[in-house]
């Protein structure tokens, strides 16, 4: 019974967050002084010497319709919800007219997901292991070394890191391509190989820098847990240090890290702008960047909506996973 109540409350929260988010996405561009339809018509008319006013009027109606700008603000608002939630249609892109925004995002998303999901999870896993060692076995030489490396890497901006990687591994020692190119199609060996080769440098730049952050937070957490009475008592029970680390320190210290991971996973839909640009990687970050540069409202609205859904969805999932990790948290 409690579980259903919990489920209902979380679903309501999720719906509310998405609703507020999408409402903001809908209204914010409408407060902007520029009108995308007029801008587009202006662009077109400035190119051709003469256009029939009637044709311009028809074009305006068509554009208004395809951008969902017909009727009163309220009608537009409901229309927007209907399009986004039911037909998953964000309208055509202005910059790449008439390609639909949904299709552009759909094309970029797998790339971003592939790169960021992998690098986020790898850096989370490495960061937690290193942080655990650094926090729990701080007197050991290897812990100190690992910690020092992570702290040295952490403050380096990832784009500088990316540039260094490009210089070293694509220019001085050309093992990897300067920019990510992908060949082949489907599930072929050639395609997999080009995916791995093309994604290694961008992934490496993100993993190395991302790991530093996880190491620092996990180190602080596990050093704190290591001083807890139940860890001291575990020693009095005669348990081996390795067991104390894996059974007592890790499960307790990892709790906040799981929350952070989920939030981080939600944000990967924003892409990694600079990495994508530096490596010529066709992800969502590049898409958002073009959208902003070219005032492509539909594209911006589309990517932001996806991002809202992703973050709210990740939080929703963590809320359900948490009671399995921490018995003190119940479905209530």
């Amino acid at each position: 019974m409690d579980f259903y109540k919990f489920l209902l409350s979380r679903i309501l929260t999720f719906v509310l967050v998405v609703f507020i988010g999408i409402t903001a996405v809908f209204f914010v561009p409408r407060f902007l002084p520029s009108d995308p339809v007029e801008a587009m018509i202006g662009q077109l008319t400035s190119k051709s010497a003469f256009m029939d006013p009637k044709a311009i009027e028809t074009m305006r109606t068509t554009l208004n319709e395809s951008f969902g700008l017909q009727g009163s603000l309220l009608q537009q608002y409901f229309g927007f919800f209907k399009r986004v939630l039911i037909t998953h249609d964000f309208g055509p892109s202005l910059a790449n007219y008439p390609a639909p925004v949904g299709e552009l995002i759909g094309r970029a998303l797998p790339w971003t997901m592939g790169l960021l999901l992998t690098s986020t999870i790898i850096s989370w896993a490495i960061g937690n292991v290193v942080g655990l060692l650094a926090g729990f076995r701080k007197e050991k030489a290897y812990s100190k070394l690992l910690e020092a490396i992570s702290i040295a890497l952490y403050p380096i901006p990832y784009y500088i890191f990316a540039l260094v990687l490009i210089m070293v591994f694509a220019y001085i020692v050309p093992i990897f391509p300067l920019s990510s190119t992908f060949q082949g199609d489907g599930f072929t060996w050639e395609r997999i190989k080009s995916l791995v080769v093309g994604s290694t440098l961008p992934a490496l730049s993100m993993i190395l820098v991302g790991t530093g952050w996880w190491v620092i937070s996990m180190k602080t957490l596990s050093a704190g847990i290591a001083e807890e009475d139940y860890v001291h008592f575990a020693r009095l029970k005669g348990l081996k240090e390795r067991k104390i680390m894996s059974r007592y320190v890790l499960p307790n210290a990892a709790l906040p890290q799981v929350t952070m991971l989920a939030l981080q996973l939600g944000t990967i839909f924003n892409g990694a702008l600079v990495t994508e640009i530096l490596f010529g990687y066709p992800g969502v970050g590049t898409l958002i960047y073009t959208g902003i540069l070219q005032a492509d409202y539909n594209l911006i609205m589309g990517t932001i909506t996806i991002s809202i859904l992703a973050v709210a969805g990740a939080t929703f999932v963590v809320d359900f996973l948490y009671p399995f990790l921490d018995p003190r948290v119940r479905y209530k």
Binding site: D229, Y230, K237, P251, D326
Partner: protein, 330 residues
């Protein structure tokens, strides 16, 4: 049986030493409850660590030895000395920690905390069998076996302490050390815990050491007790005798400060604070706070003298009594 031979233990604070335990010499006999009393910082907990062989940096034993005489598997006597007492943890000597609220892993069930401590002694048994045995033992102690499935936060403070006592006594160890077992519990629960400890001890006939700053606890369940002051055991004897006729001025003041039914006089604390254990003063460590101290007390350390049957104290003023006793008993 547990024997401490003139044990000193100190904390190594980067070159300077805090002598938390200073030449403590006593034994805990078979099937008795021995109490260790004293104010905060007198070395009680350090003494317990020394007895449990929990010698970790910065703590070190600088002189003396700790010995546990126990019966081995085949009935032959075995002696464990400090340095290898930890090999007999839970089986021969076990420990009830201070602060039951925080000593259990919050994300593991009570069952698994039991298993962590004792499963290595029951390797041949299946987990199910062992669990059934633990449940049976809990029932014996009048605890609901369902607590095994619970997480620590679902139990009350008193229940957690009981569970820890059950854990410490499950393997029927010869010696159980309890560090402030009733601190941070309300008086009704305290009573329940003490009754449980006394009952377990009576049944198993093992030795128990109870460290507590609360003289009431000692009065209620210990058979013999030692009073610690500034790292030294300044008086030792049967609990009844210590409460009836305390000999050392410090013990006298401690017991004088206890409230009694019908006595409405204002109680006063002992003025002053204990000396620093880094640089203890020469002579008697209590001299600065002692109302009857002489110049001799401030200069020469008093030796421990017998002041009654099995009753000893370290005070210059008791030396005449001790001398008389010696003359009397030949």
């Amino acid at each position: 049986m547990l024997r401490l031979h003139n044990v000193s233990a100190r904390y190594n604070m980067l070159g300077s030493y805090v002598n938390a335990v200073d030449r403590v010499d006593f034994e805990v006999r078979k099937s008795e409850i021995f109490g260790i009393a004293g104010e905060s910082g007198c070395g009680k907990s350090t003494l317990l660590k020394v007895m449990y062989d929990l010698i970790q940096y910065p703590l070190e034993i600088s002189e003396g030895s700790v010995e546990i005489h126990a019966a081995g598997k085949d009935g032959k006597p075995v002696v464990y000395r400090h340095g290898d007492i930890h090999r007999s943890w839970w089986k021969v000597i076990s420990y009830v920690p201070q602060g039951a609220m925080h000593v259990m892993n919050p994300v593991a069930r009570v069952k698994s905390q039991f298993f962590d401590a004792i499963s290595k002694y029951h390797e041949k048994k299946s987990a199910k069998q062992l669990e059934a045995e633990i449940a049976g033992y809990l029932r014996e102690l009048e605890l609901p076996p369902e607590v095994l499935q619970a997480f620590p936060h679902q139990l009350s403070g008193g229940m957690r302490q009981r569970v820890l006592i059950a854990l410490a006594t499950f393997l029927h160890p010869d010696i159980v050390l309890a560090d402030e077992p009733t601190t941070a519990l309300d008086v009704v629960v305290q009573r329940g815990i003490l009754t449980m400890l006394a009952k377990v001890q009576k049944k198993m006939k093992n030795s128990m050491v109870i460290v507590s700053h609360d003289m009431g606890v000692h009065y209620q369940i210990t058979h013999r007790m030692g009073i610690m002051y500034a790292g030294q055991m300044i008086e030792i004897g049967p609990t009844e005798q210590i409460f009836e006729s305390p000999q050392h001025p410090y013990t006298k003041m401690l017991i004088g400060a206890l409230p009694k039914v019908g006595d409405n006089s204002q109680k006063e604390g002992i003025p002053g604070t204990p000396p620093s254990l880094k640089n203890p003063p020469p002579g008697c460590r209590f001299a600065a706070r002692c109302p009857v101290a002489t110049d001799l007390c401030r200069a020469v350390e008093p030796a421990r003298v017998a002041v009654g049957h099995e009753h000893m104290a370290s005070c210059h003023l008791l030396e005449p009594i001790a001398a008389e006793r010696r003359a009397h008993h030949g």
